[in-house]
Symmetry: C2
Subunit: 192 residues, 2 copies
DNA sequence: GACTGAATTCTAGCATCGCTAGACAAGCGA
DNA sequence: TCGCTTGTCTAGCGATGCTAGAATTCAGTC
């Protein structure tokens, strides 16, 4: 059994290598630069090897998305845990979210913009995605206000932050007032 | 001079034809299906003709975006003009915006998601884009609230709507509560 | 330690993409 | 009718994602 175990371990290692290479390439040169040929070259295997791990490029994007979602959840939790009071926590959440989007644009796109073939907002949604939403819910749920369902409130705040993140990054919002927009959004939406 | 005028008119007609073909193809089969070959076939000219009108596919997307932005501005103005009171106007604006995104997903993407090579949030931003923002500003400016710059407020509401529109359409938000999210957003953000 | 069969990996290639050089044809003014 | 500009087309380049089938590697057996 040792032989087979070793092979499985090596396969898992190689899969991680593929995902890491895709992520790094996407983050440095954009997703358009993530081609199967370049990816194959990076991992020092031929193209078809990629297809023994993933159904296609879409699934590789999905794998990066799942990895990123876990990190986003952790970043949000770390930021909110360090804040005192619900107002501070919501501000910390907003900034942590937007910071993540700014610092990991390609990963953010994989999670929230590109098609990685993942099911969202369903029962069979992968755990990392559910957990990222849960991380938002933990802090936002307590400031939803009377008569507002925490989940619904979280979705709405999340969508607003997503809008700010994507429009800002594509240059459709002027960069100078980014901070004031976040303040306005958080102050108005949250019931402290 | 009549000959030259006729030629220019024919060129302009053909350009409109290209944009219309791109838009229709994108709306029916997605932007990935909008290839230069298919486009050329639709307008019954060869591929290189496209490049005598546009620098490349990106510019064609940009042309669709400009056309769409004008329509979005008109749709928003029509909806708000028909509403009485600032609260009703803001609700009408939100619904008109989201309806536009739902009914013209490809065009919406051309304006707000894809790279059409257009400058945004700058002095040299094309008029249709400025006008679409102006249409939002006209209604939202009056409910920004004390001490909040109308432009900043408009940007923030716009971003929120954009987030709702894109996350909903990509299936990342559950469809059933779309209406309640809009209500929540508008009620909290606007100072009536 | 050589051999066989299965698992793995590679080479080569398909159809398609955006885009362009250079050949060709149309249609104008003289 | 002719010459020349202007416009259009054919053909092709270097990419893309993906795959069939050949070639190789390597584990288990004699």
């Amino acid at each position: 059994m040792s032989v087979q175990e070793r092979k499985e371990r090596e396969r898992a290692d190689r899969e991680r290598l593929i995902v890491a290479a895709a992520r790094e390439l996407a983050e440095h040169q954009g997703w358009d630069a993530v081609t199967t040929r370049r990816l194959a070259e990076r991992i020092e295997y031929s193209q078809p090897v990629l297809y023994s791990h993933f159904r296609g490029k879409r699934e590789i994007i999905g794998a990066v998305a799942l990895q990123g979602a876990s990190e986003l959840a952790a970043a949000v939790r770390a930021a909110t845990a360090a804040a005192d009071g619900s107002r501070a926590r919501v501000h910390a959440l907003a900034h942590a979210y937007l910071d993540f989007a700014t610092r990991n644009p390609a990963v953010y796109d994989a999670i929230f913009q590109l098609d990685g073939g993942l099911p969202y907002a369903r029962e069979d949604t992968p755990e990392p995605l559910k957990d990222a939403f849960a991380a938002l819910l933990e802090t936002l749920g307590e400031v939803a206000g009377d008569g507002i369902e925490p989940g619904l409130f979280t979705e709405t705040v999340w969508a607003s932050l997503h809008g700010l993140a994507t429009l800002a990054r594509s240059g459709r919002l002027p960069p100078e007032d980014a901070e004031r927009r976040v303040e306005l959004l958080v102050d108005r939406l949250a019931r402290i």
